[in-house]
Symmetry: none
Subunit: 405 residues, 2 copies
């Protein structure tokens, strides 16, 4: 049996960029180490989830980890909360949230409280409380964005949003959509009443009022989701597993699956991350864990920024780091590289394009793929979905059961 | 409407072999007739069941025959029993079995009875009996291996193994895992009691005792499965069908589906099989049956033996036989060639690698695949699963219904 390392270059896929003479970032970048891996191994194209689906990082990583999101995904709330660094445990109910502004009659006048910047952390912190045995955890994100996690017995996500989703309408009273949601809706409405009191009197809002800015006097909740009680990674796959990532959503997913998680020193989840130390840390973990997933976020950040040059340069630095890592990793290790989805610089968001994938494992047939990019990889043998990746890796690592006789 | 012939070269797929200068058996072999078929037709890669799945011959053949194993497969027992040549009918419950050795307290001391060789057939035969209207059929395989088939009303596979799966532990009493398994567990425990009596006093064991060898005094049962009541092939596909094979598991599957089955004279299921007479017999059947599947086992045997030269030479002899067959088969016949899975010589077991596939049918577009091997076939147009093959064949044979208006 061999060990496995899956390198996920977040948002890797790209489309032609004018500034790169019509090339994708991966086509324009110099990446001899990725090319060597695909030349020695097998390549192809992978569709995150399914062709034409614009995958999120959460659904796509679940799928790459062998958990079909059609079965196991229960909405963005828990994963957005993890993404802000809130701990989410199985059974928790989580929401995406905005700090918004209401008038004296409770009508929403600004769903973003003037794109609140200063004081959002303090506002969020002031809303951590406990009501009827249910604990509420609020954490601020960028500007007006935040997340809420509810923890306690008997919670359900069968409830409506409080966010009316447009201005000029009153904040919704949270309602159950099925009887099992009644308790949750009730305790949540009480939380929202208390939170209005707290926000109205919060010093951060005093300052905003003085400066004529919209006050953040309402936490608008949407997208409730119950954190799934996922089968432990070891139980699911018969392997010990680790996740290495700079961003909390990915380590959060690893945590939900009972995997070892690591945010290495120098790993920032941004363009200036220390790729070498991250990949060396991951290579080190392959000596202790059967399966290691390492996520590198820089490519996605550059895609969201629409910065093709930065994406190309990030790929070149990642490639050098992969070269260094290859000198320290055991040559028996099965290695795969792919993206969790495309984030084309021209789109500045996730798209549904297929992404290149490579597999390197001793003894397998080397196919006709010679270069690792969106076009050249298509000379390889594979046309797969993200959900196939785990099966292929386990098979190459001599870790799969025969299906039949 | 045209008739169809599917040639399954068992375990065809391979990986690089040092002794073949890094080539797969198919790459190294001279096979002009297979090349002509793919050049005239269409090629590609087929993943048995799904990417990365290590398919058995049973699940893969069911899939090639258009029966999705996810829906229709009920465990190895019935197919292992068929593989030993036991007849299995819908509703039968079948087990894989070992002759094992227990001490006077019923503790398993050897799960293989010293890899029993002599006398296994006689021991097996002595266990054929009837209890409470249930008939028990036991047949020996290689060494200690055997299979048991139970036939009668009210049987269920919702029961546990008697095999403790390790030495030093007592033989398990068979237990129901749901109420419907109660009768089966009860009658099976009584069978096991009688069989201990029979085995203890069997002359084959007297001889073993004298020679100081472990006696075969316990039939250890595992992997119960109920033979599925599969929809008749003709009803499923609107075609008459035949299966030509040298090994009982494959003709057994044909029998379960109500197909005509043939083991031609000279077909041995091994490397020295007479491929020409087998393929000519199959070609002959295409004049009487709408669909003919012919399985050639030699490639799989060589793969399990780890003998790349033998695999290459078998492919060359099969290719010559295909050349002869092509002169006798109607030119309108739709022909496909593929493997049911890969059995790389370097692995000596089934692997999850894709296998090459070709389709030849008059009037279809000839694609860019020119040579029939794992690498060259990937130049062709198809990337399919085994479950797609039947639909493609029926479509090429003008035998498929329009799906929609």
């Amino acid at each position: 049996m061999k060990n496995i390392m899956l390198i996920v270059l977040d948002g890797l896929g790209d489309r032609p960029n004018q500034i790169l003479s019509g090339k994708t970032a991966l086509q324009a970048a110099f990446h001899p180490n990725l090319n060597r891996l695909i030349r020695d191994g097998q390549g192809g194209l992978m569709t995150p989830i399914a062709p034409g689906i614009r995958a999120g990082s959460d659904t796509s990583h679940l799928s790459l980890l062998g958990y079909d999101p059609e079965r196991f995904y229960s909405g963005r709330g828990p994963f957005e909360a993890m993404g802000l660094g809130l701990e989410v445990r199985p059974g928790d109910v989580a929401f995406r949230a905005n700090f918004g502004t209401t008038d004296s009659r409770g009508i929403v006048t600004d769903r973003r409280a003037g794109r609140l910047a200063d004081g959002n952390s303090q506002l969020a912190e002031s809303l951590n409380m406990e009501i009827d045995g249910i604990r509420f955890f609020v954490k601020a994100g960028v500007e007006h964005r935040a997340a809420l996690v509810m923890r306690g017995d008997g919670l359900s996500d069968k409830i409506t949003d409080s966010d009316p989703h447009e201005t000029g309408r009153p904040v919704n009273r949270v309602m159950p959509v099925s009887p099992e949601g009644e308790f949750t809706a009730d305790v949540l409405n009480r939380f929202l009443e208390v939170s209005r009191e707290v926000l109205r009197n919060h010093e951060a809002n005093e300052g905003r009022k003085k400066n004529g800015k919209p006050v953040a006097n309402e936490l608008l909740l949407r997208g409730p989701g119950k954190a799934p009680d996922l089968k432990d990674f070891r139980e699911m796959h018969g392997m010990s597993g680790a996740v290495v990532a700079g961003i909390p959503m990915i380590t959060g997913i690893g945590g939900l699956l009972g995997m070892h998680t690591l945010k290495p020193r120098g790993s920032t989840g941004t363009l200036d991350s220390d790729f070498t130390s991250k990949l060396l840390a991951a290579a080190d973990l392959t000596k202790k864990y059967d399966y290691v997933l390492v996520n590198i976020k820089a490519t996605d950040v550059a895609g969201h920024d629409g910065d093709a040059i930065a994406k190309k340069e990030a790929i070149e630095r990642i490639d050098r780091a992969i070269g260094e890592m290859m000198r320290s990793v055991d040559e028996d290790t099965v290695i795969a590289v792919t993206g969790d989805h495309a984030t084309p610089c021209s789109v500045r968001d996730h798209s549904g394009d297929p992404v290149p994938v490579l597999f390197r494992s001793k003894g397998i047939l080397s196919d006709r793929s010679m270069f690792f990019d969106e076009l050249s990889s298509s000379a390889g043998m594979w046309r797969i979905s993200s959900i196939d990746v785990m099966n292929i890796l386990k098979e190459m690592a001599d870790r799969s059961e025969k299906y039949g006789a």
